[in-house]
């Protein structure tokens, strides 16, 4: 029983650390679309001070991380709470302070302090501005747990019967549909991406491989009670950024642009170098 309990506590702690690593990875590794092992957390058995206490604390930590992972925007104060819990267990990894700094860096952006708005919620748009919507239309919605932006292309694998039907209807219309985020509770976000199908391959079993391009944003006005199996909404298209009020802000935004360009290229250059060398190593070249 004791061995089982000890094993369970270790599993719990490992799951906590996996959550921590995943949590920490989001600004760095996931931003690059790579799987790089930043750190492997090897738990020393000496860290486990009494299985029962560890189990209870472990559960608390798991729940805490689940809470942090589910609630956005993530804040440094949330991570502080998690770190306090880790400190109590005396199992802080050596570089945890550095990771904390990276989170504080992220906190500099006011965007992370905002909340995701959903279509069924009362409209509370703090950035409302006199940007008239170009048009209103009904739009079939492809509801997913992730986001896609305008000015990009991506592949969609359409396998659910309702979405196969939707894509056939889309092909018969103007090839446009909405890509929209859902948090898994049935709610859809208030803002999504207007997509256009640029390539379609229908497989023998009816599944479809679709290449789509993001061509703009839309705001959901009302989710319609349509007869179709898929979701249809009345939306406003042509949602644009708020014009910056004066030249000072324009200058600030431009500086940010340059910085983003610079950073993007740094990463690309670093990755290019890494892959080149890794590739050479696999072939015994220098």
């Amino acid at each position: 029983m004791a061995a089982s309990s000890s094993s369970a506590s270790r599993r719990l702690l490992r799951s906590v650390f996996r959550s921590a690593v995943r949590f920490e990875r989001s600004p760095s590794v996931r931003a690059m679309g790579l799987n790089v092992n930043i750190a492997a957390f090897d738990l020393d058995q000496n860290d486990v001070k009494g299985d029962k206490a560890v189990l209870e604390t472990g559960r608390d930590l798991v729940n805490l991380f689940k809470h942090v992972l589910r609630t956005r925007p993530a804040t440094a104060s949330n991570l502080d709470k998690a770190l306090d819990a880790l400190r109590r267990l005396n199992i802080i990894h050596a570089d945890i302070k550095e990771r904390h700094k990276r989170w504080q860096l992220r906190e500099e952006s006011p965007l992370w302090k905002q909340q995701v708005t959903f279509a069924d919620a009362e409209e509370k748009e703090s950035e409302s501005a006199p940007t008239p919507a170009v048009a209103t239309r009904s739009l079939p919605l492809f509801v997913l747990g992730n986001c896609f932006y305008p000015e990009g292309e991506t592949w969609l694998h359409v396998f659910e019967p309702r979405y196969r039907t939707m894509m056939r209807d889309v092909a018969d219309a103007d090839e446009c549909f909405g890509h929209i985020f859902s948090d898994g509770t049935g709610r859809v976000a208030s803002v999504g991406t207007l997509c256009q199908v640029v390539f379609r391959e229908v497989l023998d079993d009816g599944r479809q491989a679709i290449r789509v391009r993001g061509i703009g944003r839309f705001r959901v006005r009302e989710v319609l009670k349509a007869p179709q199996a898929y979701t249809v909404a009345e939306v406003e298209t042509g949602i644009a950024d708020v014009p910056l009020p004066d030249t000072l802000h324009n200058a600030a935004a431009s500086a940010q642009l340059e910085k983003v360009i610079f950073l993007s290229r740094t990463i690309v250059l670093l990755l290019s170098l890494t892959f080149t060398r890794a590739w050479c190593r696999t072939r015994g070249r220098r």
Partner: protein, 114 residues
């Protein structure tokens, strides 16, 4: 090799190249918005809720600030890791930073091994 193959799509996209700032279009708000979204698509940033915040905000400065923070953390973490593993020297890291600041219209430095 399989792991390396998964990263082949990671490169500066045509959308980013098309909307990159030039002296003539530096203050073009529409271009800036398109650029920020094309960068967001390229880096596939973070968690879904964070991605949605990038999409729903109508403040381009906020979006760019957030992207800058993510990319700063990413570049720092990657450089540190490469230095630790010996794939990169400090001199090379500095050279890459300098090279990144240069305006390279071709932007073909993301070509991976053949």
């Amino acid at each position: 090799m399989h792991r390396h193959e998964k990263t082949k799509s990671l490169r500066v996209t045509p959308f980013v190249k098309a909307h990159r700032p030039t002296p003539d279009t530096l203050l073009d708000a529409a271009r800036r918005e398109r650029f920020s979204f094309s960068v967001a698509n390229m880096v596939q940033t973070a968690e879904p809720f964070e991605s949605q915040l990038l999409l729903q905000t109508r403040n381009s400065v906020h979006r760019l600030q957030a992207q800058r923070a993510v990319l700063t953390a990413a570049a720092g973490a990657l450089a540190k890791r490469l230095l630790e593993t010996g794939l990169l020297t400090e001199a090379e890291r500095v050279a890459i930073e300098v090279r990144s600041r240069e305006d390279d219209a071709a932007a073909d430095t993301d070509v991976l091994p053949p």
